[in-house]
Symmetry: C2
Subunit: 215 residues, 2 copies
């Protein structure tokens, strides 16, 4: 094992350091954020920073980089107050990655990258029709992280669309059965296989499996 200290990291070339530090958080979910401007221009961008904030009220967060990621998404979210989070199916990872290209503001990544908009009545942001797990959110709060000028966007979950046969008896969604992609670093895509579902851990009991997936 090799140890890299702060000065080693600061001395890395910019792109090398970006790849290195982005790898440190391991596997990350691949999600497409769907928005529309007040004029109806749609926008779609891949993010790997979606994080669970809480279940009651149901909240999700994500980190946005106004200076590196195109600003349209965040501007649209602020303008309309709503956005969608759509899980990326494994087979569409390449076109999902393509939404990170800097298209003109007048182009929609939906059409440019081959995703279909799906609109639900009463909700002013487009979902990704090809996604098996679609979440519609209302902006709850944006928190400026002054430490590096990024923004934590917190949304209240207004609706979730998923095939109900994929929901386990305990309410958990069988993510593995949805064939979703995950990301490491900035650009590497993975598929995952479930190993086990664990029982609630208790100090006096050894780890206990509820379900074993691997053959």
């Amino acid at each position: 094992m090799n140890t890299f200290d702060e000065s080693d990291i600061n001395n890395m070339a910019q792109r090398y350091r970006a790849n290195f530090v982005n790898s440190l958080s391991g596997y990350k979910s691949a999600n497409l954020i769907g928005t529309a401007s007040a004029q109806g221009q749609t926008n779609l961008t891949i993010v790997s920073s979606v994080v669970h904030i809480g279940a009651h009220p149901p909240l999700m967060g994500m980190i946005m980089r106004p200076h590196t990621v195109r600003r349209d998404s965040l501007e649209n979210i602020k303008a309309t107050g709503v956005y969608t989070v759509n899980a990326v199916p494994v087979e569409l990872y390449a076109q999902a990655h393509q939404t990170s290209a800097r298209y003109d503001e007048s182009a929609s990544e939906f059409t440019q990258c081959g995703f279909n908009e799906y609109w639900r009545a009463g909700f002013a942001a487009p979902f990704v029709a090809q996604s098996p797990l679609q979440v519609g959110l209302e902006l709850a709060e944006t928190i400026d992280l002054t430490v590096n000028n990024t923004v934590l966007v917190i949304g209240r979950i207004k609706q979730v669309s998923v095939d109900k046969t994929r929901i386990d008896q305990d309410g958990g969604i069988d993510i593995n059965a949805l064939d979703l992609a995950c990301i490491s670093g900035l650009d590497t895509y993975h598929e995952a296989n479930a190993i086990a579902k664990m029982a609630y851990a208790k100090p006096d009991n050894p780890p206990k499996l509820i379900k074993h997936y691997k053959p």
Copy 2:
């Protein structure tokens, strides 16, 4: 596909809703947070909320739940100013999950769950010896999320330990080669397989693979 609106979600039983909403963020990294109290009592807890904040300066974040997760970790971080983030190897998922049990404050999850402390000179928090990717952080900021009384803990990366042969030429770490676990929901563990590493996306070019992992 079935759609669940806000009232459907709010009407779910508490545990069912927790499982459901925790599933919506898809695959999440599995990390063990190592801390010590000012008196040297160590603590280890699994989290699935680690998120990349930025590369320059190098920063990582995580969401902590003072009211549901045991408070020791956050108290230790505030008391000593440092903590470690240790990626969970696939083969240790069950004992990593076990660190979520509510052990007495006087017990260390390192010994209770079978992890070995590794101390590095000049750093006041324990690493997990069995982890192939160990990050030492200094607390940069805690941000109280008033929307649900959770806390965003932001740390500045002080050191990273990883086998240097696992670092690609572009600085990215080959996460797949480290055999790390990922989590969905609160309790389901997965292994992942890399599919492809993608080139930086450009509007005028189709998606381009840099490396194809699948046979």
